[in-house]
Amino acid sequence: MKAAVVVFPGSNCDRDLAVALRAAGADVAMAWHKDDALLPGTDLVAVPGGFSFGDYLRCGAIAARSPIAAAVQAHARRGGYVLGVCNGFQVLTEMGLLPGALMRNAGLKFICRTARLHVATADSAFTGNFAQGQEVRFPVAHHDGNYFADAETLARLQGEDRIAFTYASSLNGSVLDIAGVLSANRRVLGLMPHPERVADPGHGGTDGLALFRGLVDQLAPA
């Protein structure tokens, strides 16, 4: 499986994401924000956490309009897989690849701790190696993770089983405690918690491994 990790000025989880993907067996290339194309044969684009463009204007807003963004959007339109973690999730909503928006945490504080999550659906390449309803622990580190979508969008997400992860208890004010959502074709996932930070025994937890391994298993050439 060939993966591209996008690097923006201010990305700071790009290498962690690359390490986690490589450990799961992916062939990983880094893609610079000024590139206007992905390497041919890219199966998965991973958009990392961090503070792209200093979070200026809105988190992810500038990154979502950078040259690489058009290539990522075209990749998604072709049915390619895209994973956005934390700032990457914000970027994907700003690109319009995922519905809703990430707002300032309801408590206004930056939240940096390990969160208990529930896997809300196992029906995706990202979550197929988890059991539906399984509890996992992923670290969160964000100031703007308060997921918002209008009632109509939420009804659609629920009806189409597109809520991927929820917080086990209210964390940041997210509507329905949503921590991650899938696109309509289930090939784009955005989530605020960091699976790449629990992908090695040295991290103190390995709950995130199943996500990367699941992707590699599903996207490996048949």
Partner: protein, 79 residues
Amino acid sequence: MKATVTVMLKTGVLDPQGEAVRRALGSLGFEGVGGVRQGKVIELDLAAQDRATAETEVRAMCERLLANTVIESYRIELA
């Protein structure tokens, strides 16, 4: 031509920062502040000379970058 864009969270979208400001005003003794909404102001210096062109341009800028219309509304003033 100069344009001033005011971006605010839409009505119905909870504004935790505005709410924190409201509480802080209350703790300073400013009574009677029913609600506070916090937004941002963006000033643009435009090459366009006529109003209609400027308005069309700025509207496109708002839709494509300056506002996230999922959660925000915007208002354009030209001078």
